[in-house]
């Protein structure tokens, strides 16, 4: 075993140990209980690679001084799902859902690219305009849901269908390719050795966390999600809370759109963020947030996003036949789902095999 191989092994074991340790810690603490099962799944993924594909853990430091390796790719590519999931978590917490985020990403990318290739090319103008437009798209969703009382899934379906058309209208149906070093840094740059998208996702996550956990906003959102009428009687401006969450979701989707567009240095209105709304919802629910509204866990959603991306990166790294790639994803969804269910765990624990060990009740 040469030097680099043992290094890979050490990194792999460290990653695995971190995962396993946090699984145990989260299992013990009341506050992070919801993180346990996604962490178990992530540990299993890492364990598999440690045994069969240790090169998966290869990390190098490039000449430019940043980290390079599959683990960093997971961090990099999961950030777009994490951004969407942050917004999605708050929307789902109010009892809604936003299936237009993929299309909003396409619009945001289209706006930014159009500005970049125009004579008024400027990083700040592109970013500000793209975020304004996507926030406005979120506002539109919010108005349909909160003010017009249309069911969230149908209200956001409108923008899901039309939004991609709007994005194509902006780009005139072509893929706009651009070369703008400052703008490219959003999706490709590195800060302190880590990719910029990961920093962006972390920032948005921390902002959302601060807003919901240090102010009463989070409590209001949960109350609205639990029982809208009761929330209104309690003096909470339920409508306002609902549309604020959609605006925030639109804003997050806008940033995710910028990240994707800058990462591939072009705006592809047709494919940017296609079906990513499903991944975002998946990440949210894997993280322990209930689809019916009420309780929400932002940290869980981030972990869910990382788990989803880790799964596809692992599949690419292990040369899984592209035709069957959907199947492991299905198994992951259902397995995490089952593990999250109290009823399933209590039934499993009631099995004779586990009783013998005096299995700790979950």
């Amino acid at each position: 075993m040469n030097n680099s191989q043992s290094l890979n092994f050490i990194i792999g074991i460290t990653a695995l140990l971190v995962c396993v340790a946090s699984t145990f810690i989260s299992g013990r603490s009341q506050k992070f209980r919801h993180l346990r099962w996604p962490l178990v799944a992530l540990s299993l993924l890492f364990l598999y690679n440690l045994i069969f594909k240790p090169t998966f853990f290869a990390l190098e430091i490039t000449d430019d001084g940043y980290l390079y390796g599959s683990l960093i790719d997971i961090l990099n590519h999961s950030s777009k799902i994490a951004l969407l999931a942050t917004g999605m978590t708050l929307v789902i917490a109010t009892g809604g859902v936003d299936i237009s985020v993929g299309s909003i990403m396409a619009i945001s990318g289209a706006v930014a690219a159009t500005v970049i290739v125009s004579p008024y090319s400027s990083l700040i103008l592109a970013v500000v305009l793209a975020l304004l437009v996507s926030t406005f798209a979120g506002l539109w969703n919010g108005i349909l849901v909160a003010a017009c009382g249309i069911q969230p899934m149908v209200a956001t379906l409108v923008l899901m269908v039309a939004g991609r058309g709007i994005a194509q209208l902006i780009t005139d149906g072509t893929i706009i390719t651009f070369h703008h070093p400052a703008f490219n840094a959003i999706g490709n740059g590195h800060l302190l050795g880590l990719p910029v998208p990961a920093w962006l996702a972390a920032t948005i996550f921390l902002i959302a966390l601060a807003l919901t956990r240090t102010t009463s906003l989070g409590l209001f959102i949960e109350t609205v999600g639990n029982n809208r009428t009761a929330a209104r009687y309690a003096g909470i401006a339920a409508r306002k809370i609902v549309w604020i969450t959609y605006v925030f979701s639109g804003f997050c989707a806008g940033i995710a759109g910028l990240v994707v567009c800058s990462n591939i240095k072009c705006a592809d209105a047709n494919h940017a963020g296609l079906y990513l709304e499903l991944d975002a919802i998946l990440a949210t629910v894997i993280g322990g947030t209930s689809m019916t509204g009420g309780r929400f866990y932002l940290s869980g959603s981030i972990l869910g996003a990382i788990l989803i991306q880790a799964l596809s990166t692992v599949m690419y790294a292990n040369d899984v036949n592209p035709a069957v790639i959907a199947v492991p994803k299905a198994i992951l969804v259902i397995a995490v789902c089952l593990l999250q269910s109290d009823r399933f765990r209590s039934r499993i624990m009631a099995l004779p095999v586990f009783r013998k060990f005096g299995g700790e009740p979950c």
Binding site: F56, T177, I264, D319
Partner: protein, 319 residues
């Protein structure tokens, strides 16, 4: 309630008003119904534009319908064209299977169907009148031949497959494998789907370049230019030189890949000509004059590499 209904009527009227204006010109014009797959790439857009502009130039009324990648929408469109009584139907089929019934319906209504881009599997001959377009298997073969002639007989190949199960992906893979079959030194060591998009192409290439076999990869074969463009970025980010350390071969021939070839970052693209408008309407006019139409029209297609690409070639291309 009436007041609100008028809210609905207004946009619908707007929708139909432009149609009304077009109908006023007289009824002798030829009407062609065209069912396009979608608008998923620059290539597709060029194909749509070519047909639309040619129709306008020749004074032919074109009924255009975008199927958004769904066969069911194309079937609906063809049935709607039959109901409208168009003279000729042009179809760019999204898949090769499943056209029997609707083509029989068109035949029963005496409307000839002209296929574009892709042939279809049908149970009997004569269900379509003419097929205009290249064949993706041949494009795959051309790519393979270029590789043998220009790179040699020893190479580790990474392949970026198109959307799993789609016609071009299957055929371009098949053709390429046929061409390199006789050369034991040419091996496909990595193959994964990049879904025909730049972002997926880049993401998959990143993983290829981190695999234990990464040092053996010295050729990339991408089923379309967009995936190749994404992969070029991934190769550069990995600190390698696209076009030199890894030879890049792709299909379609869009402008951006020409720029990359000129800059030395890509090596070869097998053209798949989307400008079928003139060919299509030549056939349509032949048919309307009552003459027999050719069963097969092959548009002109080239293989482009650094030898025949210049700035003038790039400027001369519309897509």
């Amino acid at each position: 309630m009436k007041k609100y209904l008028s809210l609905l009527i207004l946009p619908l009227l707007l929708l139909v008003s432009c149609k009304k204006a077009a109908e006023g010109e007289g009824s002798k014009t030829i009407t062609v119904g065209f069912s396009q797959i979608g608008a998923e790439s620059d290539w597709r857009k060029a194909s749509t534009l070519s047909i639309k502009e040619e129709a306008k130039k020749r004074g032919i009324e074109l009924k255009f319908s975008d199927a958004q990648q769904k066969q069911e929408n194309q079937l609906k469109a063809i049935r709607a064209f039959i109901a409208q009584g168009v003279d000729v139907i042009a179809l760019a089929p999204v898949v090769t299977t499943g056209w029997d019934d609707v083509l029989k319906e068109a035949r029963a209504a005496n409307i000839p169907v002209i296929l574009i881009d892709r042939r279809v599997d049908v149970s009997e001959d004569g269900l379509y009148a003419c097929y205009i377009g290249a064949d993706c298997t041949e494009e795959g073969r051309k790519a393979g031949r270029w590789l043998i002639e220009n790179v040699g007989k020893q190479a580790g190949i990474a392949e970026l497959v198109g959307t799993v199960g789609s016609g071009p992906a299957v055929e371009r893979k098949k053709g390429f494998e046929e061409a390199i079959k006789g050369e034991p030194g040419l091996k496909i060591i990595k193959s994964q789907s990049g879904d025909f998009t730049r972002s997926q192409g880049k993401e998959v290439m990143e993983q290829f370049l981190k695999s234990p076999e990464r040092d053996q990869i010295n050729v990339l074969y991408a089923h379309n230019d967009d995936m190749a463009l994404g992969a070029i970025q991934a190769i550069e980010e990995a600190g390698k030189k696209p076009g030199k350390d890894i030879v890049i071969i792709s299909c379609d021939g869009v402008k951006e890949i020409f720029r990359q070839i000129l800059a030395g970052k890509a090596n070869c693209t097998v053209e798949c000509n989307p400008m079928v408008g003139p060919y299509l309407f030549d056939v349509v006019e032949t048919y309307m004059r009552g003459e027999t139409i050719p069963p097969r029209v092959i548009p002109h297609e080239d293989v482009f590499d650094a030898k025949n690409i210049t700035q003038e070639v790039i400027d001369g291309r519309s897509y």
